[in-house]
Amino acid sequence: MSAQPHATTKPNRTPPATVEIRIRRRENTDAPQYWETFEIAYRPNLNIISCLMEIQKNPVTKEGKQTTPPVWNMNCLEQVCGICTMVINGKVRQSCSALVDQLEQPITLEPMSKFPNVRDLIVDRSQMFDHLKRVHAWIEIDGTHDLGPGPKMAQEDVAERYAYSRCMTCGCCLEACPQYEGDNYIGPQAIAQVRLFNMHPTGKMTRDERLEGITGDDGITNCGNAQNCVRVCPMSIPLTKAIYEENRETIVHGLFGWLKR
């Protein structure tokens, strides 16, 4: 029951016979980076993952040199798990949704530059999950036993939260942020999660704990308003709006903190 993938993407030029892919490689965390170029046969509707799979099967460079297969991370291939993020033709994005027919050749693939590079296209983004710990990105429920439904909410409010709740911690925002370097700034991802939980009727009750997480030297004030984050976010999350709202909230919070003393 094999089905041919649809050939619906209309290329506006004659399809090329081959696809040329330049990959920025690294053997391990401590090794130097180097480039290798590969060439595979063109087929319609290829995405970057299919190209990498093709190279993996038979890792020979364009020059005919046998080499090690490049490694990368992949999972859902539907742009919802975030794992396959890399820099493609200079732009940070998910490789599963990067279609060859829409890319200029030769296609360059590089690992994200703001995170430790494990090997080839694999990076370690665990610092982003640490950020989520710091900002208490969760609702403090009393327990998982049956306590009936949650608070009533207007669809309008839900829709606003839904936009933030789609964040898949892919790291595009941090890669594109000119302020973020060496884990020096909590960044748009975590700030947007603070917004997500501070908007929730239950989450509001522990708002201060979350705000603590985004104040301090590496906190929200590091934002330089370049607005790159919102431009590269694959989920179109209103990151700059979150930063604006939370910046205001931290100021009000600071004021109240001062009054409390």
């Binding site: 094999s2 949704s97 049956d146 669809q155």
Partner: protein, 675 residues
């Protein structure tokens, strides 16, 4: 490792999707320690791909829905192969599970009153599916990820992300004492002690090459358990989703919610009609599901929709004669579509390039879900003491076919049942010291190191990725929608050939740091073993039931096959046996989705009077003798209430009559359906 107090309980959870996180959360909440193993960071697990929603009979729409009705739909949809008691418990727990996620902050879509909104899904007539846009799985997984992170901060959960389970550690009495896992960066193998192990590793879609599953869904860890003595049940029941988007690297899911919100499946009435869909007038379109199944229309269960679409294409009626049919949403206002289905429409747009708000989508069935899995009892224990399983990797709940939006609820339910069961087991087993002395940890670790070393040193001219492709093609061609015994036999021979060629693969990566080659080689071996279980289970089951369809045996055969297939590993391959299904609550009746369920229920009720008591243990089960279809002969619809008494429901009857008479678009859940 998570900190364990003296004699404290530590449980290993393998897999960080919905089931694994649900179990981890419950164990941590009880104050015990969890070691959580996951190939990918848990937030990137396959559960994120679930789109449409989660079922629970909350009955906020005044439709007379009940948890019993949900239970009956589940069992009926599963063609009576599911053990009924756990399915009933799941349906009873479902509303509380939805409310819990609501409290955890999942942005479920709302009604104007601010209550949870529910939509329709396949195999039911009720609005029973809570949803968060069209990314419900993502939202539910994140909610659990957040709660587990909270426990992680408190030191109750230790995550091992980027570690893959290789095998169980069993003591001399075949009791599970822990596991061996491999660090995917360094390839270090390590033995982890645990008082109980919960498997929650999801499905085995990659056995079929391309499927709707994520790339981690190899079934490899479950296969390792099977090869160490765990029973694997109903392996032959593989759900092929009717609507996926064929791609080079995978088949992307197009959620059933598209039909739940009014999507219509059609092909041009004329063969090889090459006109664009918008210029084909209504009367020249063949809405074959609505025509053949007036009661459920486009919302027949997945196995039926898949077979119909498959057959239409086989008959040359697919669009342009190809393997594709239209799934049409273009009659629904774009604003409504964006609000209710935005996420999935974006996926289609992104990968195909057409806008489904204006152009009908082109879809074809794709391998999606395994109803089969590790055999478990009603508390999620496998047959290996100390080993439990939950979620898609266990076989319970769904029988021969899973209903849409029942997977998310069954994953969470499985985790919620497995957690206390594992704790109870751990409290009653001799812990820590019990197995320390006799070297079982070192032994298993050594065995795994030898397997890895063997693979690394092995050389030959076979390419492991090509073997995988070959396996996938054979499995997809012969062990999915339509199955013939000769083809199944040939497929098993092919699998044996692939296993033999596997001994001649070479790891084509001389750099072992973070290599993908060695883990894939380990997966491939395990996938081949499980592929045989699926294929031989199908070969042996000479009937058609749910997702398992043999044209040579077109009917359900309750007399011989109302039984669970059990596969046990032996050196020569799977050894099959059969186990009675617990049908103590609902008497099996014929599945017939051309009629409303009340009709079929009433018919079964008439035959079941006086025999509705659960069968005594060991007593032969009551099998349905009278499965013939009869014309509608009802004076009024009959439904069951929760006490299994017959009740008449006037409102229900009116709804039914209207639906029965009016085959308009509204009946198909179309535009005028309240959306």
């Amino acid at each position: 490792m998570a900190t364990v107090g003296k004699n404290g309980i530590k449980i290993a959870v393998v897999g960080g999707g919905l089931a694994g996180l649900a179990a981890a959360m419950k164990i941590a909440e009880k104050g015990h320690s969890v070691d959580l193993f996951s190939v990918v960071p848990v937030k990137r697990s396959h559960s994120v791909c679930a789109q449409g929603g989660i079922n629970g009979a909350v009955n906020t729409k005044g439709e007379g829905d009940s948890t019993w009705e949900h239970f009956d739909d589940t069992v009926y949809g599963g063609d009576f192969l599911a053990n009924q008691p756990p399915a009933k418990t799941m349906c009873e727990m479902a509303p509380a599970i939805i409310y819990l996620f609501d409290r955890m902050g999942v942005p479920f879509s709302r009604t104007t009153e601010g209550l949870l909104d529910f939509r329709r899904f396949g195999g039911t007539k009720h609005h029973r599916t809570a949803f968060a846009g069209a990314s419900t799985g993502q939202q539910l997984l994140y909610a659990l990820d957040e709660q587990v992170r909270r426990h992680e901060v408190e030191g109750k959960v230790q995550k091992y992300e980027g570690w893959e389970m290789m095998s169980l550690i069993l003591d001399d009495h075949q009791v599970c004492r822990g596991l061996v896992a491999m660090n995917l960066k360094t390839l270090e193998l390590k033995a982890f002690k645990a008082d109980a192990v919960i498997m929650a590793t999801g499905g085995p879609g990659l056995i079929f090459g391309k499927s709707t599953n994520s790339m981690v869904c190899t079934g490899s860890a479950v296969s390792a358990c099977y090869q160490q003595g765990a029973k694997y049940a109903n392996g032959e029941f593989i759900q092929v989703h009717p609507t996926s988007i064929p791609g080079e690297d995978k088949l992307r899911l197009m959620s059933e919610s598209a039909r739940g919100e009014g999507g219509r499946v059609w092909v041009p009435r004329a063969k090889k009609d090459v006109r664009p869909p918008s210029s084909i007038p209504e009367r020249e379109r063949w809405y074959f599901l609505e025509e053949k199944y007036p009661a459920y229309g486009n919302l027949v269960p997945r196995d039926i929709a898949t077979r119909e679409i498959f057959q239409v294409c086989l008959d040359g009626m697919g669009i342009g004669g190809e393997n594709q049919v239209y799934l049409d949403l273009s009659h629904i206002p774009a604003e409504t579509l964006d609000r209710k289905l935005g996420a999935i429409l974006e996926i289609y747009e992104m990968f195909v390039g057409d806008d489904p708000r204006h152009v009908p989508m082109r879809i074809f069935p794709g391998v999606h879900y395994s109803m089969g899995g590790l055999w478990v009892d009603f508390e999620q224990h496998t047959n290996i003491p100390g080993l439990l399983a939950a979620g898609e990797c266990d076989y319970s709940i769904h029988g021969a076919n899973r209903l849409g939006a029942n997977s998310l609820v069954s994953c969470v339910f499985g985790g919620f049942v497995a957690a206390p069961a594992a704790i109870e087991f751990a409290q009653n087993v001799e812990r820590n010291g019990g197995a320390d002395g006799n070297g079982i940890y070192e032994q298993e670790l050594k065995r795994q190191e030898e397997i890895n070393d063997g693979l690394i040193k092995q050389s030959g001219n076979e390419n492991q990725y090509k073997l995988h492709e070959e396996m996938g093609k054979w499995m997809t061609d012969n062990v999915t929608v339509v199955r013939y015994n000769d083809k199944l036999k040939e497929t098993d021979d092919k699998l044996l050939e692939l296993m033999e060629r596997y001994t001649r693969i070479s790891i084509n990566d001389s750099n072992l740091w973070a290599t993908m080659a060695l883990p894939h080689a380990r997966h491939l071996k395990n996938m081949l073993e499980l592929a045989r279980v699926i294929t031989l289970g199908a070969l042996n089951r000479n009937e058609s039931r749910g997702a398992h369809y043999k044209p040579d045996f077109p009917d359900r055969d309750d007399e011989n096959f109302l039984k669970t297939t059990i596969a046990e590993y032996s050196g020569e391959g799977p050894v099959l046996s059969y186990e009675a299904v617990d049908i103590s609550l609902i008497k099996p009746r014929k599945r017939d989705y051309s009629k409303g369920k009340q009709e079929t229920t009433a018919k079964a009720a008439a035959g079941a009077k006086g025999s509705a008591l659960p069968p005594k243990e060991g007593a032969p089960q009551v099998l349905s003798q009278d499965t013939e279809q009869k014309p509608k002969d009802l004076t009024g619809p009959v439904i069951w209430n929760q006490n299994k008494e017959e009740v008449r429901d006037v409102n229900q009857g009116q709804v039914e009559t209207r639906r029965g008479q009016d085959k308009s678009i509204e009946d198909a859940g179309g535009k005028s359906d309240k959306i």
